[in-house]
Symmetry: C2
Subunit: 628 residues, 2 copies
């Protein structure tokens, strides 16, 4: 240990008076002058301490990690060699994905290194890193590079050190997506080390791993507020760091229509917040392609028939009314759940050719394996106060009862679904719909088909309607608002007090949110293989009434990563066992350029297991008056 | 209006189908094809609509604004000419500040212009802006450039257009600080205009303005988590945009000691999170100097005798114990209010020479008009469980009663205060201390002196202790945690649930938080001139257990700006009348590079007065079940 000076002659040591020692899976900070061991940095300790060290999410099958590290430089990593076991195999295409994903891996490591490394004068400390070679060999079974709900994302990762102290990485996976997850895991077996002024990697590791759920997502709403392309790319990157595989893109809503529809230019002209706040086809392709290399499906939602307003104000107007009705109709409380109101007009058949054009461009851009058709918060009162629609419903269904308006809605669902299939070259595909009146026990099985519709549940985690959807055998994605809505707990944007789904959902709530557990516990549903298979996964939702790209990253991360481990590993334990790795994962995200929020003082990261609350101790915490 | 195409031949018009019209002080969005008027952009409408247009905070004395604008380019603004009425006047020194502050003003405008302007191909639309000259004349009474609690920050700003359609700006102020506020106001009389592809400024304006309170602050805690220099500079900038004048820098705490003390290098060596997370003297000077040009006092706090831990672990150890005791003592709940524990040891007289060195460097760096001496959350139980201190207290005060430990604390206060005065070249200056046991009714007047101590109140706004401090004639700064703590409402960082001061404090709560009002209403205190004068102002607090520079900006802004208007204008009305300007002020902050959080959908900015909640309307908002 040297004194705190920055001169070029100093030894290759840390400036810190502290060292770390791993005892009982905890990194202890101690005064280096009192230790007999060589000085160890926190990052090195974290890399070698505990059965899962710095891995997040925790691998689900098997993890064997060495306790020693070797220094290396990311730039010294050789391009990978690939073989494919499927015969025949389009290895050129597969290799394109693998090579690009590997470049991304190398760049993630290089970014961390560039951010943390010491100035040039201390480069000589890297001598032991400079000669180290890392070679990577992959065996991938299939050349299929389409991500679906059936894709096998498992992988086997083996790291070993040869007699020349070079590193060999062996990856086996069924698909490209499994191999990409192995890359992510490999990156988490490395850390920057200040003493060598280089990255370091574990000398050996064996990891067998696969996800518990096939759908692991985050929703981003770009209609209430706009998010830049750069911020969406960052979101894709961050998802991949936790092996999450879906960015559910809630592109449009009543507030704005920010996507280019080349065949209906009026949508963006009337609907975008400004001509700069539009996702062009080129932008979308950039995001979709980047997503694939990161193992992330870009799942586009076209929300309908409610949540349509801005963008729909142009003709062709007919005797049957506008394309969308109730658009910014006031007082809004009578016609929708938040301003501005707006719903498509199913009495005006001109909406279907427009929808077909939108769907057709969506399918070309996103090439989806499932399509999100929205369907939430249909307000029958909006339709029932629109004269043209009342006339149509009276004429078509005989009266103006709830049942007749539900028939109108079903008619819209059938016709719009037919246009979706048309846009998909007449091939069926699963449709995701939000929970709504239609998914309530009263209507569910008469209106929706469990072989065709996937239900995204945004009820509370205690809702009978939710349990009914599971019991009726529908495939489900859970986004229960009392546990997974990231927009909750901020100020009410319409009046005083905090917003409708307050309080704030802390990362621990997301971590512990296991539908397998709460369905069994709260509703006595047996989680057999059939039910297990029907629960596709979960999704944390960043609705954007009160966020845009200025603060989106820090509201989503690291909270969504807690959900990520729940979905990948589905551990038997709760958040407490994940806490140390979670805090460290947040630091890693920041080092990689994601402005994730801080969960604790950095002191807690540097003094593991010292930040806790023990209710059995008679103390002052949470006793506000004593904080004086 | 042209179609949505980006070709170089297009006319100098907007691509938008919408235009705005100001009716009854509200900017209405209407279809441009249905309007007889020339197309108007939202920014132009906001600049000319309503008695206070886009100004935030609202001027407090008089505001007369024209309804017409002229295009200009920031780069065409001439350097200001200055005269000084005081005789003699050090005009060279004064001019240095004025010229630099003017450059900052010009750069703020230029940054907005560069961010929003269209590409080079459309420069020809600027012809009418290119020739426009803006000249600025200032008359400042005094050459004093020290910001104190007595500084006159008032100003008079007059904007007029001469016969050549050039703009003349006339600023009169008592001090540089008033003139700087005038610059800020001037910048808020300008907006980018897409049609001319240039900035535009009001053709005439007359504003008389002065603050309601002399102390208008935000606290930043850099001990629990570190904030980069860049993020602190951004905070200073953002404060100045709302004419707030104090950055209360809570530099150190038990968690880390991130500032360089050249004469006691062990403080940072043992106390900083890393050698990169240290504020050097050079860094501090950069911040302090930038603060002055922005009209912002950098008020350093040295929190003591509690809140001392990391950094104090080195000798000289004596028979009287360590310099700081209970440092990370566990279980922490017995010795402090949050981990890690730590308090200075008043039984060890070696602490005073160390404190003197710290104070001396603080005074050199910050040149303070008031000094913040901390003093919160002293935990008598920590001292009372430290053997060396028990021996000392027993010997010195005769027993181990609360009273004796209070005497120990008083002894520390007296001795440390004497060292502070010594460090200030033996000149007295006011000391700010936090509310604590010492400021409770039981001890206040026996222990503290109203002519010497300013009390920063962090009780709730309903606390009897708070009212007592005011009644006893102390000068006060309000930071009531139930209304002004910006860290509240996130997850509990020690266990499940949300944090101790949850829920989240929305901007409306900060806006409406008027001590003059609640002291009168809740405690029947007459707000006469004496009481008025004793209330120096308020401060929003960004404690950093759960935030660092990744999300600090968006947690502070725009919420603290709401407090800014309360403190500058102290309007008779509540948040509702400020809402439109507040939302627009947030957009302005973002355009100037402050990642402030979004308060509403951008739709609400573009459709003024359409986002509201009327409880008298029988609707669905806040009826969660209906959101299905």
């Amino acid at each position: 240990m040297t004194l705190f000076t920055l001169n070029f002659g100093q030894e290759c040591t840390s400036d810190s008076p502290w060292t770390y020692e791993c005892r009982n899976e905890v990194c202890f900070k101690i005064d280096a002058s009192t230790s007999k061991n060589e000085q160890m940095q926190l990052s090195t300790c974290k890399l070698t301490c505990g059965p899962h060290a710095a891995l997040f999410p925790k691998p689900s099958v098997e993890t064997i990690l060495s306790k020693s590290t070797l220094p290396f430089l990311p730039s010294m990593m050789k391009n990978p060699s690939l073989s494919c076991t499927q015969k025949p195999c389009d290895i050129a295409s597969l290799n394109w994905y693998v090579a690009n994903a590997f470049n991304i891996l190398r760049k993630d490591m290089e970014d961390v290194y560039q951010k943390l490394k010491k100035p040039d004068g201390e480069m000589r400390c890297q001598s032991s890193a400079l000669g180290r070679r890392i070679s990577t060999n992959l065996i991938i079974a299939s050349d299929d590079t389409t991500l679906t709900l059936e894709t096998d994302e498992s992988y086997r990762l083996n790291v070993s050190t040869d007699s020349h102290a070079d590193i060999e990485v062996q990856i086996t996976a069924k698909t490209f997506f499994g191999a990409r997850h192995a890359f992510e895991t490999l990156s988490q077996l490395t850390e920057y080390d200040e003493i060598n002024n280089s990255m370091q990697v574990l000398t050996s590791a064996l990891i067998l791993d696969k996800p518990a759920y096939p759908y692991r997502g985050v929703l981003l709403d770009t209609s209430r507020n706009y998010f830049s392309i750069e911020s969406i790319i960052r979101l894709v990157n961050a998802l991949s760091y936790t092996k999450m595989n879906t960015l559910h893109w809630h592109i449009t809503d009543t507030h704005s229509f920010p996507i280019q529809i080349k065949s209906v230019p009026n949508m963006q002209k009337y609907g975008a917040y400004s001509h700069k706040k539009v996702y062009t086809h080129k932008d979308v392709r950039t995001i979709v392609e980047h997503g694939k290399l990161r193992g992330v499906r870009i799942l586009a939602e076209f929300d309908q028939p409610a949540h349509c307003g801005e963008g729909w104000q142009w003709g062709p107007k007919t005797g049957l009314g506008d394309l969308a009705v109730c658009v910014n109709k006031q007082p809004w409380q009578k016609y929708c759940v938040e301003p501005p109101c707006g719903q498509l007009n199913p009495a005006n058949q001109n909406i279907y050719p427009v929808l077909n054009k939108i769907y057709t461009e969506y399918f070309k851009l996103f090439n989806p394996d499932v399509f999100h058709a929205g369907g939430d918060e249909v307000h029958l009162g909006c339709w029932n106060t629109t004269e043209e629609i009342r006339v149509y419903v009276q004429k078509t269904y005989g009266d103006l009862s709830e049942k007749s308006f539900m028939k109108l809605w079903k008619d819209f669902l059938d016709k719009s679904s037919a246009e979706i299939v048309k846009a998909n070259n007449n091939k069926d595909l699963p449709l995701i719909v939000w929970t709504s009146m239609m998914t309530s026990q009263k209507y569910l099985t008469d209106y929706l088909d469990k072989d065709k519709h996937i239900i995204q549940l945004w009820t509370t985690s205690k809702s009978e309607d939710m349990a009914n959807v599971v019991r009726k055998g529908f495939r489900t994605i859970f986004s229960t608002y009392d546990t997974l809505y990231l927009d909750c707990g901020y100020g009410n944007w319409l009046t005083e007090g905090n917003n409708w789904c307050a309080p704030y959902k802390d990362w621990k709530l997301l971590y512990d949110n296991s539908p397998r557990q709460f369905l069994n516990k709260n509703f006595n549903i047996t989680i057999d293989d059939k039910v297990k298979k029907s629960i596709l996964g979960q999704e944390a939702a960043m609705w954007s009434e009160q966020v845009d790209d200025q603060a989106g990253d820090s509201k989503i991360w690291p909270r969504a990563a807690a959900l990520g481990e729940r979905l990948w590993t589905d551990p038997d334990h709760n958040w407490e066992q994940a806490s140390t790795r979670m805090i460290h994962h947040r630091e890693r995200m920041v080092d990689r350029g994601i402005p994730a929020d801080a969960l604790q003082p950095l002191w807690c990261d540097q003094n593991e297991k010292n930040c806790y609350y023990d209710p059995s101790i008679n103390g002052h915490y949470a006793d506000f008056s004593s904080r004086r």
